[in-house]
Amino acid sequence: MTVAVPRKASPLAPTRPEEILRPINPWFIPLTFVIALLGNLLPLTGTAAMARPDFLALVILYWCIHEPRYVGVGIAWALGLVMDVADATVFGEHALAYAVLAYAAEYFRRRVLRFRRWQQAPQIALLLFICTVMVLLIRFVGGAPLPSWTYAVPPLVGALLWPLTSALLQWPQRPPAEL
């Protein structure tokens, strides 16, 4: 199924073979959002809670990069409002952060898509950091103190999970193996 690529090929080479994916079932997208939201609601404590990535941001990022016709700034913003309720933060905090994330994803998507999955991870880390920094900025306006260094862990964990997330979310669109 995966096409062998010569070792020499530069990641930027435009002729890198790509699979043609099947069209997406539009019901699949809301389903993934619900599952990501469940991940964000998991009752974790201690180290697990500290390192938990923002699953919803990760899934928003995936759809903004791969299906910008379906998911864009508006949907990301609405999901941010839901997250604001779940986290009991001020209305608009996650909404603004996710809207900026979706915009950044739309801006960088062509660049990100040129790379392979594991090579995309550092760029995803940068995008997730943008989202985190947006939340931080809003907090600072509200008078919050500087958080500890652990605040930088979830975006990194999110970026590490990106290849897996990306593969899982693309699974239903894979062409049948026998072709």
Partner: protein, 307 residues
Amino acid sequence: MQHFSDAPPPFFHRGPSPFARLALFGLLSLALLFTDSRYGYLEGIRSIVAIALHPLQRMVQIPGETLAWVAMYFTSQRELSEEVAALKQQVLAQGPATQGYGLLRDENAALRALLAIHARFANAATAAEVLYTGRDPFSKKIFLNRGTDAGIKAGEAVIDQFGVIGQVTRAFPQMAEVTLITDKDHAVPVKVERSGVRGVFFGAGAGRMPELRFMASSSDVRPGDKLYTSGLDGIYPADLAVAQVLSVERETGQMFSRILCTPTAGVDRTGYVLVLRQGEAQLPRPEEPVEADLPRKGTRAKGRRSG
């Protein structure tokens, strides 16, 4: 060379550009941020979304509960009998204290009735389970699985078996949000058990020790002192354990001493808690003397320092 215009032909029309959309939703977010933090008009919308989220929150609980049930099922006989023995010993040890309790309570009630003092403790309380902790490292909040349907109201005190955990800040039908005493914006009026000195216990947010602030350098507080609620704010009933003093630093240049404390209750653990029903025992606050000339100070700051 032919000139092409930048605009796409009409049959490729995709709505406003991403940047225009970002600007629109960014402005909307800013408006929401401002409205919510300043006026709190949006609590209705918040509770509607919270109701919609509730099934998801329950669903997320299921794996943990199942695991706990399975683990409980396979607990060995020996462990159980050991636990029973330990519990029996505990009951015996607490016997002397509890045997006279009913008598004392009746006597106390009679004396208080004589003195026309209102009951200090509201008798009713609701047991609740911690659903999950807020994902947000800035604010210390937990969510309980009971809400207004179980009679919980915003403002009620929440305790566990060791002491005060926090205060209900928002009550939804099936859920309640509790701000922990370690939250940055939270204050509890307390008294020192040993000396009876009054003070206010302030949370400091994630990663910092809560403090007893605005205590003069001469005040009688020592490391190891236990802090109990003084009950002066009308939110926390009196005589609940709050914290223990960890260190006291007195610097000559400073007006107040720096007193760090550790909370007594398991504020960072998940488990069962008790929401204390607010009795109507509170007397109304006396009218503030009206002074038309003086500008009024912020009521919030005044409320927080009422201890």
